[in-house]
């Protein structure tokens, strides 16, 4: 009886608490019920661990354990809601196979690459790691080592890792898994605006009249934002339009007014059709364009980001791989690029795909002229069962929605446009359309790349854990940026390496060809998450290399590693993430990590103690380095200058980079903790607060540099639910580049695209540069013309179906966390392949059959599904990648956008047959 009463009491209190969360008024009695039930709980604000939406969640702890979570009613992003993954945040750290002790491959008491994993102490783990690192570093220099970084790093974690690699080891071979999810968005931001990150924010949803989704299944992959879109639609059902462009009918189509199924890769042509219509209907916002924009284009022959050699290719891969060197234009590409069908085009610009030049508006018009409705409708129609007339009408409705003068439009996209062999181009095309119309950077109008990971923006991009980046949008190639970084980091001049390091696919390829022999995997699972995985798993296990994997769970990457370091998870450490709308959000450590699991920050700092300056700051060979002020192929010895700065060659990297005098002044314990622990500080036991010190040091890069962040304590305040940077005088910036909202905008300009990167260009026509003299385009955005190009791998007589991969709502990426939550695991225990029922019938297959899916790169088994949430058109298949048992990346192609180096996971050709 007592139990029943208690259950009823708990139910009433949870209901009342939830009602308050979503704004349903409570009586005083109901409010008291909540207080009573939660009397011993300690609630604290936090952030969801999963996608880039950046939902606020509240976490309740009792007796050192998490007992409840709820959507944060004060969080402007989610306003109290949770999606199903977010709902289970509290459980992800309690999986039964949580790693709690370092594990190393051993035989006869010694490390052995062919040995079995055995537990070792942290000291033993670091001893071997140091030995193996120094063996490679001394043999190959900074180019032989690497870090697989992450868009799931907290800001202090990513900052510590990047600083150790770039300032300490003088290596730029750190690159995040974020390369796989939004690098194309970054290239387009930098090329179009001269600065990374979006102008708008999520509030655009409530201000707009039209939401167009391009390659973004928001209903499953950004469900909370989709809930906001749904609310907007229902608030004004007749006027608000939703249009979903996709290659596979999905849940986002369910409430859309129009669903447009297009053939993979033809989004490039559809954007140009809209641009042509804008020009033909004289809908260009000439005043906006003249004041704030210029036109630009670049080379078409830029390859597909594959290896330029067949030396490492499987035999079946060689025909597609050869297109990296030369392609034969098909009839549609010939029209789209104003060339001749059958023409052989050598890919001469694979090494400089990002170069571009200014063109006139007349040249731009000439570029889009071939993209008529007739041509684009025929080219792009993706559903064989749909009539051409129907598809044509939908394209026209799409153009009408963008062009209608007083209609506000938001374009959202995710991996369909970013994971694309021309991802940077298609991102730039989105800005092309919005800028032509002047529908950008104002409430309800804008093109917006929805980010996939929780801190792909805040850490991977802004902190600069990419192979070419430094903090706050700076790059290693730029001498002024290096000098500014060296000043803030207190490094001797020319410590930083000016040569761009290896991007994430190249790290994997370098493990295969022996150019990288030490790799440290941090906060990601690259051996499951990277395409063409058979190559990289073999390279990890068979080549002479040493791979360390920091992980809370035994993942594919842990399994192929030589050393596994057990790692703390989100609520077991302090952290800050930066979401897709420039919002930086912080949280406190809520519970202790289990066993000997340690934070990533602690691991990086501890490892840095094992290196003296004399080992890393002497002269270092960098093959291929050519940069003004540097001897070819070499980084200088900076030890003398280091001495002049007061450093000793015997100082460790920990002393010089992390436990600096300034950082040690940031004391632990700290009142901001309000009684919460900081395991990193406690394990270091030196009286300083690493996460806070590192964040505040990083902040110095952002101030007065168009990226201003607030200080650490501000983000931890109970009345702050994140702030969108730039934060000026304590105030966040809602819409960038717009004088009404952005303090960086020149007074009186209205709009000001003030980003500084790539703002002087030569001029030319559609075919190339005609005048090399560079012209300044300061304060302006670029409207690019980019043509349609065909995917290099398409279905043929042998591999006769399109294959695409992505997510389902229940699982996050490779399932490392969500598959440990029994409820989510049981909800979708294994990945299925979706196929049109008639395609299944034609292959003598039935729903729930076990089938082989085979591509040029390998084959995997999966269960066939012909119903449910995904409804591919005939000729298409889809399977999610969360399940290591259905190892989808063994069949995906590792082609990338040549500019962003982001992999295209969406366009492989496969055959499917009964297993």
């Amino acid at each position: 009886m007592l139990e029943v009463n208690r259950r009823e009491f708990l139910k009433a209190s949870v209901a009342a608490s939830a009602a308050a969360t979503v704004g349903i008024p409570l009586s005083s009695v109901e409010a008291k019920t909540v207080q009573e039930a939660e009397r011993e709980w300690q609630w604290d604000k936090s952030v969801c661990r999963f996608c880039g939406t950046g939902c606020g969640i509240m976490v309740a702890t009792k007796d050192g354990r998490i007992v409840a979570t709820k959507g944060d009613p004060d969080a402007p992003v989610n306003r109290g809601l949770n999606c199903i993954k977010g709902y289970f945040n509290g459980k992800i750290q309690y999986g039964q196979d949580r790693l709690t002790q370092p594990l190393m491959r051993m035989k006869d008491g010694k490390f052995d690459k062919n040995g079995k994993f055995q537990p070792v102490s942290w000291d033993r783990a670091f001893d071997e790691m140091e030995k193996q690192f120094k063996k490679t570093y001394n043999e190959m220099g900074p180019t032989g080592i690497s870090v697989f970084g992450s868009g799931q790093y907290t800001i202090p974690e990513g900052y510590a890792a990047a600083k150790l690699m770039k300032a300490g080891f003088r290596s730029n071979n750190i690159d995040p898994n974020a390369r796989h999810c939004m690098a194309s968005a970054v290239v387009a931001f930098i090329q179009s605006f001269g600065i990374d990150e979006p102008s708008g924010n999520y509030d655009d949803i409530e201000y707009t009249d039209t939401v167009v989704t391009w390659g973004a299944n928001m209903a499953e992959c950004h469900p909370i934002l989709w809930a906001r879109v749904s609310d907007r639609k229902l608030a004004d059902e007749k006027h608000v339009k939703l249009i979903n462009l996709t290659t596979c009918s999905n849940q986002t189509s369910d409430i859309a007014d129009t669903e447009i199924i297009f053939k993979p890769g033809t989004d490039l042509a559809i954007w140009n059709y809209i641009a042509r219509e804008i020009v033909k209907r004289d809908a260009v916002n000439h005043d906006f364009v003249k004041k704030h924009c210029v036109f630009a284009t670049g080379p078409y022959d830029i390859g597909y980001g594959m290896r330029p050699t067949s030396q490492y290719a499987f035999n079946a891969e060689k025909d597609v791989q050869a297109k990296e060197l030369e392609v034969v234009l098909d009839a549609d590409e010939a029209i789209a690029q104003r060339k001749t069908a059958g023409m052989k085009v050598k890919q001469n610009n694979t090494k400089k795909p990002v170069k571009h030049w200014m063109i006139t508006f007349d040249e731009f018009k000439r570029g889009v002229e071939p993209y008529t409705l007739d041509f684009v409708a025929r080219l792009s129609k993706g559903d064989p069962d749909e009539s051409l007339e129907s598809h044509r009408n939908k394209l026209k409705q799409l153009a009408d929605a963008y062009i209608e003068q007083n209609r506000k439009v938001v374009s959202f996209w995710t991996m369909g446009m970013n994971q694309h062999y021309r991802g940077s181009w298609v991102n730039e095309q989105a800005y092309m359309v919005h800028l032509l119309l002047g529908k950008q950077a104002e409430p309800g109008n804008g093109a917006f790349s929805l980010t996939g990971q929780p801190s792909a923006c805040g850490t991977a991009r802004e902190v600069g854990t990419f192979a070419h980046r430094l903090p706050a949008d700076m790059v290693v190639m730029n001498p002024k940026h290096r000098a500014r970084s060296e000043k803030i980091w207190k490094l001797p001049a020319n410590t930083l390496n000016p040569k761009v390091g290896t991007h994430i696919m190249k790290i994997l390829r370098s493990l295969e060809d022996g150019n990288v022999k030490f790799a440290w995997v941090q906060v990601n699972n690259p051996f499951q998450a990277s395409a063409n995985a058979n190559h990289w798993i073999k390279a990890a296990r068979k080549m002479d290399n040493f791979i360390v994997c920091s992980d809370p769970y035994p993942t594919v990457s842990a399994k192929v590693a030589d050393l596994i370091l057990p790692t703390a998870m989100i609520f077991e450490k302090w952290g800050l993430y930066g979401n897709a709308e420039r919002r930086t959000q912080g949280w406190r450590q809520q519970v202790n990590a289990p066993g000997e699991a340690r934070t990533d920050v602690w691991q990086t700092l501890e490892f840095s103690k094992r290196f003296k300056l004399k080992e890393v700051w002497g002269a270092k060979k960098i093959p291929g380095l050519k940069s003004k002020g540097f001897k070819d192929g070499e980084l200088p010895d900076v030890l003398q200058e280091a001495k002049a700065m007061g450093y000793s060659p015997e100082d460790t990297l920990y002393d010089v980079l992390f436990a600096t005098q300034d950082n040690k002044k940031v004391a632990w314990p700290d009142p901001v903790a309000k009684g919460h622990a900081c395991n990193t500080a406690e394990w270091l036991d030196e009286g300083w607060f690493p996460e806070k010190a590192l964040f505040n040091e990083y902040r110095q890069f952002t101030l007065n540099f168009q990226h201003d962040l607030a200080d650490f304590d501000t983000y931890m305040r109970d009345d702050i639910r994140g702030l969108k940077w730039p934060v000026i005088n304590g105030k966040e910036t809602q819409w960038r580049f717009n004088e009404k909202y952005d303090p960086y905008v020149k007074t009186g300009s209205g709009f000001d695209f003030y980003g500084k990167a790539l703002k002087a260009l030569p001029t030319g026509d559609l075919d190339g540069v005609t005048n090399k003299e560079k012209v300044s385009l300061a304060h302006k955005a670029k409207i690019f013309f980019r043509p349609y190009a065909a995917p290099p791998e398409q279905p043929d007589n042998n591999y006769d179906l399109w294959f695409s991969t992505g997510r389902v709502i229940e699982h996050w990426h490779t399932g490392t966390m969500t598959r440990r939550v029994p409820e989510l695991h049981r909800a979708v225990p294994t990945a299925q392949i979706w196929m049109h029922p008639e395609d299944a019938k034609a292959r003598d297959l039935a729903r729930n059959d076990v089938v082989w899916i085979e591509s040029r790169r390998g084959k995997i088994k999966a269960i066939l599904e012909t119903q449910g949430r995904n409804r591919p058109a005939k000729g298409y298949t889809f399977a999610p990648f969360f399940d290591e048992g259905v190892f989808v990346n063994k069949i995906c192609i590792d082609m990338t956008c040549p500019m962003s180096k982001e992999t295209d996971f969406k366009k492989a050709a496969v055959k499917v047959y009964k297993a």
């Binding site: 259950r7 708990l10 139910k11 949870v14 209901a15 009342a16 608490s17 939830a18 009602a19 969360t21 979503v22 704004g23 349903i24 008024p25 409570l26 009792k62 050192g64 354990r65 007992v67 409840a68 979570t69 709820k70 959507g71 109290g80 809601l81 949770n82 999606c83 199903i84 709902y87 289970f88 509290g90 459980k91 309690y94 999986g95 039964q96 196979d97 949580r98 709690t100 002790q101 594990l103 994993f117 055995q118 537990p119 102490s121 909370i224 749904s230 609310d231 229902l234 035994p554 842990a558 399994k559 596994i564 289990p594 066993g595 000997e596 029994p822 409820e823 989510l824 049981r826 909800a827």
Partner: protein, 109 residues
């Protein structure tokens, strides 16, 4: 015991009938609603949270439902969850002396 609170949104003219439909479903109970916004708070209780997940899916399929998402989750008495990771006994589970228990079989397959 797992208790979840689910926010259901429906059109304003549907709120009352939706409350009846939800209350008729097994394991569900409507606790709060707001006639001015169409928001309804439903409590779902289940021994297995898998049943809760299925329950949410069941709600989403009801005609007239605009939105159904979980808002709050209480699992403080999920003994299965905590028996998997008893922090006090961690040394016994994964100390060097009893090492084999902390190496997931998967890693050495």
């Amino acid at each position: 015991m797992n208790i979840s609170a689910i926010l259901v949104t429906t059109s304003l003219d549907n709120t009352e009938s939706m409350i009846n439909i939800l209350n008729d479903l097994s394991g569900l109970e409507v606790f709060h609603h707001d006639n001015t916004t169409g928001k309804i708070i439903v409590i779902q209780e289940a021994n297995s949270i898998q049943d809760e997940v299925n329950g949410l899916k069941r709600i989403k399929k009801i005609p007239g439902i605009i939105l159904a998402e979980m808002v709050q989750h209480y699992f403080g008495e999920d003994t299965h969850l905590y028996s998997a990771k008893d922090i006090e006994n961690m040394d016994d589970q994964c100390g060097i002396s009893s090492a084999s228990s902390c190496i997931p079989e998967y890693l050495n397959q």
